[in-house]
Subunit: 447 residues, 2 copies
């Protein structure tokens, strides 16, 4: 009997987690990972900090190299692109991007972890030198090189989501005068407008020209980018970051029989199984169960990718792991502000059909008499009739990221806002006031 | 019909919360607060920071003055000591400490919030000038004045609990060479020895002479303190802080019919009622329901005092508020370490009869490639058979205080450690690694 063969398509967080967990669960398994780029096992979330210069080298965000995986008995082949999946014959067509050679490979178990891909709006000039997306280590290096060599004075960021905001901080650190263009009426679409407004205020305080509700018509230039046309006006730019959203990278699974869910990402069950036997999916290409809405969602995040990959890897190797889903927790640093959400914004809760209301409170991050205390705004969203907590949003200069985790726990527990208000939260003057901002907001909801 | 009269004994956090909430709930109520010291409504937790000098004036920890309470229609009488409670006649005997005048006052509702008092071991020399406790604003001012005027070179702190440790940092900031003496084998008795060891290491790193398992025999001096005798050896000291624990200040309720619970503090139900009708208790003098053990506990903390006071105030004014209890969350800063606990240590869990086990993991506070990341140790305690989470302890240089709140939420939810491991915690490189240290520890428990 030959060893069971596992093929993993995509060597990002999900793929390498799946491979590593499968090998640990059953060391006899034969695993190959095909990765199109030159790197596996990297945290794309670190790119903005590498470009900013807080991390010395972009490559430092790589967790492990193919050589390190080889020592674990996992073959990670970079510069190998999977061109097609044949679910009937259980094989993939692969191209070695260096040699151009194409070959087929047979699987017993297949893991699809092709990730997300940047939305590319149909804009003239997208391919001009100086216009960058930010998904791969290579793109991050290219941006850093461009900044070092071209010394751009002005830049445009297209998109006010997480990556756009983090890149604003990164480019600003190089003295680049920035314009940030967001098609929607506010940045951070997952948040309510009042919370987003505090982020916009911070961006403007940092001299970023924030343009909301405006669409890019074209990117212009000659041998390189020279500007961006927005509402008929040309904004000069020697660097343009395209951060206009991400979508699941599902091109490869079309017409394979692997079903997509309502979000357009691959539908999976709580074991990371797709509808096709012995085909698993995980990470940014897959849907995730949202515990608050009770529906599938598409929320591409490194944490979820790691967890889903691990579950897929354990199960394909004979285990019985379950991924319980997410509550939609994210945090982002925008210059001197920390912004976090867990669960649903008021806007989103209403769109999901909840009779939702919200309360907002601004309280101190530490005891009022302690130096360094900062205002921290908490918005809690809950259902009017059942009083079930539906979400929480936090913004402030400190103490935001890990405070939102308490909201995440409450959402997972399915608490009412009254149960939330009973929390026994930590208190000491350097870290919190006697009434933590979370409880100040919850108390408001009880009035 | 005359207005309902409420008497509150003690103007600390619990008493003033009760008074304020009662008045808001029913503005026709006539409320008087008798406070022995010269201040009401202060956070004693701030004293070490005031003594250290981080807060300009000790008085800055006062939230509101009697004059401010008067504007709310609450009479707060400082320098008024309640000498006796007569529950049969519903009256108290009060002494005006300035004039010496004694008078009785009648209540319709009585709130006992007499707080805690420092344990005073029967030591010779306790009353020498330069030996201080730390419960009142006056004592905090006295310490600060003593340091300013006497410029002590050496100091001894008796007791390695929260106050002792915070005072070590405070006195060290004045260049005082310190010896900290703890009777027990490790500091922070609520924690397991391995976690306490990291605190002891930090203290020693800061050149504090930590003496464990040693008892003070006497405090010596002449017109002022000169030293402390420990195990036959005299340790020179020009200042001594007595932080050898606190006990409920129940002297006043003895022989009143107001019942104490098994912990020695006043027994209360979830409405803050004592066994005597129309007599309420809250704060450090009262017990609290511990959600993890399901038993009454005595855990004197400012947060609990505020919550219990508010519940008592609302209920005595005709409301129907309930205090759900605590899970035993505390955090303390010790020089450059943050140390937190929620729930039970392994030692305590076993003492409570649980078949408890623990896992410990040390992971990074931020993404491994981010500058400033620090090791953070998490210990999770759970029941072997039911896998119920029983407690969590955290220590590190950053990100501890609010991370423990997630443990607090999980304990309130009554989760198993496996449910805890499913948490969707916030992730961004500046704030956490992809696998938060809490999840790294939880994953260990799942192996």
């Amino acid at each position: 009997m030959t060893a069971q063969r596992v093929i993993v398509i995509g060597g990002g967080a999900a793929g390498m987690s799946a491979a590593a967990k499968a090998k640990r669960t059953n060391p006899t398994i034969d695993i190959v990972v095909y990765e199109r780029s030159g790197y596996v096992s990297y945290g794309a979330c670190g790119f903005p900090y590498a470009i900013k210069g807080e991390i010395a080298r972009v490559e430092d965000v790589v967790v492990r190299t193919p050589a390190q995986f080889a020592q674990q008995g996992i073959q990670a082949l970079i510069h190998h692109e999977v061109l097609a999946i044949d679910t009937a014959r259980q094989r993939v067509l692969v191209r070695d991007l260096h040699t151009g050679r194409e070959f087929t490979d047979h699987w017993d178990e297949l893991v699809v972890t092709t990730g997300g891909q940047p939305a590319r709006p149909p804009l003239p000039g997208l391919d001009l030198p100086g216009v960058f997306g930010l998904r791969s280590v290579e793109e991050a290096i290219a941006i850093k090189t461009w900044i070092g060599e071209q010394r751009p004075q002005a830049g445009v960021i297209i998109g006010g989501g997480y990556i756009g905001l983090e890149m604003a901080e990164a480019l600003d650190a190089h003295g680049i005068a920035l314009t940030l263009i967001e098609r929607l009426p506010h940045v951070l679409p997952a948040f309510d407008p009042e919370m987003a407004a505090q982020v916009e205020e911070e961006l403007r305080r940092q001299r970023v020209d924030v343009r909301l509700g405006q669409a890019v018509q074209a990117i212009v230039g000659d041998e390189r980018v020279r500007g961006v046309i927005v509402d008929g006006q040309t904004i000069p730019a020697e660097i343009v970051i395209l951060a206009a959203g991400v979508k699941p990278n599902v091109g490869l699974v079309r017409e394979t029989g692997i079903a997509l869910g309502p979000t357009g990402a691959i539908a999976v069950d709580d074991h990371q199984r797709t509808n096709v036997p012995r085909v698993w999916a995980a990470g940014d290409v897959a849907e995730v169960y949202h515990r608050v809405t009770g529906k599938p969602a598409w929320i591409p995040l490194g944490t979820t990718a790691n967890k889903q990959g691990r579950v897929a890897g354990e199960n394909l190797a004979g285990g019985n792991a379950r991924f319980g889903g997410v509550v939609g927790t994210t945090v982002v640093k925008v210059f001197e502000r920390e912004v976090a959400i867990s669960g649903l914004s008021l806007t989103r809760a209403k769109a999901e059909g909840f009779d939702a209301v919200s309360v907002s409170a601004t309280a101190s991050s530490r005891a009022h008499y302690m130096p360094g205390h900062q205002p921290l705004t908490v918005t809690l969203v809950f259902d009017r009739a059942t009083r079930r907590l539906l979400g929480g949003q936090l913004i402030g200069r400190e103490g935001v990221a890990k405070r939102v985790d308490t909201v995440a726990a409450a959402l997972q527990a399915g608490w009412t806002i009254d149960e939330f208000a009973e929390l026994d939260l930590s208190y000491a003057p350097p870290f919190a006031p006697v009434w933590d901002p979370l409880l100040v907001a919850a108390n408001l909801a009880r009035r």
